[in-house]
Amino acid sequence: AQSVSQHNHHVILSEAASLELGCNYSYGGTVNLFWYVQYPGQHLQLLLKYFSGDPLVKGIKGFEAEFIKSKFSFNLRKPSVQWSDTAEYFCAVKGSGYALNFGKGTSLLVTP
C-alpha cells in the first residue's frame, strides 16, 4: 500500500529563513507528486506538482520541490520565507489510481 511520510509536524521559522519540508513516499510504480497548502481559514490549494521531466519543479509563491527517485523523496523548499507563508503543508502522492494519498501535514509558523 502507498504511504506518505512528512518528517516534521511543526516547524517554526523567522522571516527570511530558508525552508525545507521533507516528504518520503512508499510506492513501487510510477508516481505523480503534489504539494498542497492550507492557509488559515482557507481551503487546500495546489502549490506545485510533478508528473515527469525535470525533477526540480517550481510552484507558486517562490516554492520549489525536487523529486529524487532513488530516495523516494519530494522535498519542498523556499529560500526565504515570509510571515504570509504560515500555513499547513501537505505532501500527496498519486499512483495508478485516482486517489491522492496525503501525508499528515506540516504546520509552519513564520514569526516576524
Partner: protein, 115 residues
C-alpha cells in the same frame, strides 16, 4: 470562476442521526472526489465519481457511508447512524477529467461534529 463549494460549512448532529453533505464541483469537471480529514491527519480518500457513477468507493469505511451524483454534477455524501468517530472535516474535490495527471481542486469542507 467559481470554485468547489460545499454545504453546510458546519454540521452538528447527535449520535445515531442521519446526515447529508453536499458538494458542488467546478462547472465542467467530470471527476469528483470525497475525502475525510480527521484532526491532526491529512485528508483520506473516500470515493471517486466519474460522471454519475462511483468509479472507486474503496475508501468508504463501512456501509453507513454512501454517496451519489445523480446528474453528474452535484454530489451528496450520506452518513447513516452517525457515530462520534465520524466527526471530521469532509472535503470534496473535483478535477477536469479524472486523468492521472489531473489537478484536484478542493472545496472548503464541511466540519461534522457528532455529539
Amino acid at each position: 470562476g467559481a470554485g468547489v463549494s460545499q454545504t453546510p460549512s458546519n454540521k452538528v448532529t447527535e449520535k445515531g442521526k442521519y446526515v447529508e453533505l453536499r458538494c458542488d464541483p467546478i462547472s465542467g469537471h467530470t471527476a469528483l472526489y470525497w475525502y475525510r480529514q480527521s484532526l491532526g491527519q491529512g485528508p483520506e480518500f473516500l470515493i471517486y465519481f466519474q460522471g454519475t457513477g462511483a468509479a472507486d468507493d474503496s475508501g468508504l469505511p463501512n456501509d453507513r457511508f454512501f454517496a451519489v451524483r445523480p446528474e453528474g454534477s452535484v454530489s451528496t455524501l450520506k452518513i447513516q447512524r452517525t457515530e462520534r468517530g465520524d466527526s471530521a472535516v469532509y472535503l470534496c474535490a473535483s478535477s477536469l477529467t479524472g486523468g492521472l495527471t489531473d489537478t484536484q481542486y478542493f472545496g472548503p469542507g464541511t466540519r461534522l461534529t457528532v455529539l
